[in-house]
């Protein structure tokens, strides 16, 4: 075996070890959701695998001190109106500013919007903008849904990051960091934002007090 062949083999082994160790880290970083947490997402615990990444609460609003707006930093913003009810029981309306809010007699409080990123992009922050004048809270989750590349299989759902309002602060904006090294795999997965305009599993709080103006994901290629 030539020197170059040996060198190539050593690098290949190193790359394999690194890949395996990153897989292990990724697996360990995921926390399986409880049945209650799955139902709170509006999903069926029997419907697939459900995880979330371990979130660092110290990362709330950390994007304010992160590199911002420079070369290579990209922003994907989804207006409230781009969210679609997850069932036809949803009754939403757009009060102003292309925001999303509940409409009277709505029985479903959840809506979803798909996100498009380039392959391999690193997701950094999720920030939401809206209004909370309600006793209920508004939450938005950044969700990854993955399936095997070329075979049938259950969907593995992972909440990559989530933001929830608290109290009734009026107009608000708030962010959370996506755990480091969360990268996009468009071959296996799709990415979406899921909003819930109320705490309750059923019913959409109609008092014009909860509205999502937009949600923004900061990422780098």
């Amino acid at each position: 075996m030539s020197f170059n062949q040996q060198k190539t083999m050593r690098y290949s082994m190193l790359a394999l070890c690194l890949a395996l160790s990153f897989d292990a880290i990724a697996a360990d970083a995921r926390v399986r959701l409880s049945n209650d947490e799955i139902r709170a997402l509006g999903e069926d615990p029997q419907g697939g695998e459900f995880y979330r990444l371990s979130l660092d609460q110290n990362s709330v609003n950390a994007d304010q001190s992160a590199p911002n707006g420079g070369a290579g930093v990209l922003y994907t913003s989804i207006a409230g109106i781009e969210f679609r009810p997850i069932s036809d029981h949803g009754r939403f309306f757009l009060p102003v500013h292309a925001a999303l809010s509940c409409r009277v007699n709505g029985t479903n409080s959840r809506a979803e919007a798909q996100l498009q990123f380039t392959q391999g992009a690193t997701l950094q922050f999720l920030r939401i903008y809206g209004t909370d004048l309600s006793g209920d809270n508004l939450n938005v989750a950044l969700v990854e849904r993955c399936q095997p590349a070329v075979t049938a299989g259950n969907v593995t759902n992972t909440v990559l990051a989530s933001v929830i309002t608290s109290g009734a602060p009026g107009r608000f904006t708030q962010s959370i960091a996506v755990p480091a090294a969360t990268t996009v795999d468009n071959n296996l997965c799709i990415y979406s934002l899921r909003v819930q305009l109320a705490d309750t599993a059923n019913g959409c709080a109609f008092d014009a007090g909860l509205a999502l103006d937009k949600a923004r994901v900061q990422w780098i290629e």
């Binding site: 930093v73 922003y75 989804i78 781009e82 009754r91 309306f93 500013h97 292309a98 904006t173 103006d213």
Partner: protein, 191 residues
Amino acid sequence: MNFASKPIAKRPLALLLLSIFAVNHALADQLSIDSRDFIPFFGDQIYGESGAGNLVCVGGNGGKLFIAQVPLPPTPAQLDIRQLAIWGGDVSSTDASAQLERFCQNEFAPSTPIRTIISNVSSSGSGGNYFDAAALSFRVNDQQTCVYMVVVQLGLDGCSDSTLSVARVRVRYDVVQPPVADPIFKNGFEN
């Protein structure tokens, strides 16, 4: 002589190319919003499709307003919007219109979105198929804080039923690469 070590001033072709790239470098592009991407302002507003596959409102509850986000590409480059255009059908005494709007908010502080109307196009007459376009020059360098929307209105007073429709709305834009601050200086160190 090693080319990389040759003084930049003695490379006229390189100088010419660099001077070209020193000014703003624009790449024309466009996107269309299909009528099916528009959603009604109100969740229970009835709408439908014309025989040609266009978006129409349906009388009864009078809803005539529809909205869609403009999916501008996320890019660190700047975009110059050059044209707003609309296609559809009009056999009505009133008109269909599309309005390009921008909603901006403070990035890190709670704030009410500020709405800016950028351009408007509309049908006219009642001759059937219509097209209208408006030329504009609007710099987009604020996707960090703003979203861009198109609002479609089918009729002035309530829903016009199937006499007015929208097939699609198109936005043409240039992707403008910012100029290199000092290409010769930059090139001298990086090549």
